[in-house]
Symmetry: C2
Subunit: 317 residues, 2 copies
């Protein structure tokens, strides 16, 4: 069994070599040595349609992230290739979401910038920072990320609000309220955490209609930028029909090392926004979690001839 990996972080390579020792049938191609026309299993964060056409032995793509929306899904489906993504970094993305949410309510960036200038803010009783204690927390997305966000927030006695369809996923003891629509979740929360995948069904799921009613509410988006309609999002923040947002996922991305604003709208000029450069999964702890999951999944496949988890290409996640 020939496994190729375009991803060459040290820990992953050591785990793949461990796999090879455990299962002598395994062969490895790494980095630039990967021959796309030979490998059966490919670990990669990107692949083109042209490469897929050449990949005559390929049965499985292992994608070391969660959101598969930038892969050529139609082609992968047509060629009947297994697509495996990972949820191993969900605890990391969730931690980023919680960090951004706390920093947003805590006005960390705003107060830091003022104190850089010797100006002390935050003492006006009508304009204190907001403590995420005993607040109503909206959850849009209750996959591995959402479940971790909820776990991290538990010590703050939140009251969670989310969609009815997630009801079966809720196992902890906190109070939860369920609503049938995204709008009801947003309008019944003090802060909303968005960790949905981007699919045909979720694109633009949050628009002017919802944002215009969130005057005293906050949003944290670690899902994908296009879940929220770009122009509507900017307008709502600019006009304070939405109180504030912390945003890790964007509408424009840089080509290699170029200077690129994250949107065609000047989000970066707004005082009620924390900008994060799509690094939710990029922590010191991520590679280990991802490589451990890939090792585990491959071991399972070799033993059981099936994977623990495969992306549903119709649902796109």
């Amino acid at each position: 069994m020939l496994i190729g990996t375009k991803r060459v972080d040290e820990y992953l390579i050591s785990k793949l070599q461990e796999l090879k020792q455990e299962f002598p049938d395994v062969q490895l191609q790494c980095g630039d040595d990967v021959k796309i026309n030979e490998v059966e299993i490919l670990i990669t964060s990107s692949i083109t349609k042209e490469e897929l056409d050449k990949a005559s032995n390929l049965t499985t793509i292992i994608f070391p992230y969660a959101g598969v929306n930038n892969l050529p899904l139609e082609k992968i489906k047509e060629k009947n290739i297994n697509l495996i993504n990972t949820h191993a970094h969900a605890p990391i993305v969730a931690l980023r979401a919680v960090t951004l949410g706390l920093a947003l309510l805590g006005r960390v960036v705003e107060l830091h910038k003022q104190l850089e200038k010797g100006i002390w803010r935050g003492f006006d009783a009508t304009n204190n920072w907001i403590a995420l204690l005993e607040k109503k927390v909206g959850m849009l997305g209750m996959g591995a990320i959402g479940l971790h966000i909820a776990k991290y927030l538990e010590p703050y006695n939140p009251h969670f609000v989310t969609l009815s369809r997630y009801k079966e996923k809720i196992v902890n003891n906190h109070e939860w309220t369920f609503y049938d629509s995204v709008e009801e979740v947003c309008l019944n929360a003090d802060i909303v955490f968005i960790s949905l995948p981007l699919t045909k069904d979720t694109k633009g799921i949050i628009d002017k209609n919802i944002l215009s009613k969130m005057q005293d509410k906050y949003l944290v988006n670690v899902g994908r930028g296009e879940l929220i309609v770009e122009a509507d999002f900017y307008d709502a923040l600019k006009n304070n029909t939405l109180k504030g947002a912390a945003i890790d996922v964007w509408y424009q991305y840089p080509t290699k090392n170029s200077v690129t604003p994250p949107s065609k709208y000047p989000f970066h000029e707004l005082p009620n926004v924390i900008l994060s450069p799509h690094v939710a999964g990029m922590s010191d702890f991520t590679n280990k979690l991802v490589a451990d999951e890939i090792f585990d999944n491959l071991s399972y496949y070799i033993t059981h001839k099936r994977y623990k988890y495969v992306v549903n290409l119709d649902k796109e996640y």
Copy 2:
């Protein structure tokens, strides 16, 4: 019983009026109507020696914060006045500490400032943000604030390190390691949370000797500035012998509305520092917690002729 309150937030006044209805013996003076020579119990965040000399009926000062180091303690002791402080806002200060710690390790301010300029950072595998997961967390101070910090961090599977003298306070199930010295706690942690009171014994407790050995470590200070030797702290951050710090408590404070840097050293020029303008207790949720505790303590006093908690003026906390 005549109670005066210099503090006049709406919720506190409503609670004091509730107290008056419950105990008809209670009389109230509020804000500018407080006559220092008449009141028996005074709720205030500041008092001078001269005022104390005039306060012939005063038996009790209720101070609506935790750190009493700026009050004229000798005079209060000499006049045999009860000093009550509050730990009601400990959950808030702890939340601020955790928020600052996560923002520091998450490089929230640094990455925000870069992305404002269209620069995307945080992707270099040798320089990712640090996830506060399964880390060694040093705790200096295990009063109400420290206990809340530990509670909030529990979902991140920390390994806590702290001083041996706090051993009896530890009730949760996580692994704790105890050391006899402040230095050992600092050098055996990835991030250290400081919530100590400022006393004769704790002033300058962290100095060059410790800071010069913290190359890959982080500090969060929500105690008091002078716990850490000012010049040593600046030098360590400037020279990266300390990796980073988030600081809510300072060495210089503004007079009313003046522009005042928080230190005579330019901490505000350092990229590895998050500045917070001593707002750890100043959230939307604080006044309610403080007023509820004052109400509770006064009710208890009226019924039992003693307070639930009085500051030990020899220990200064």
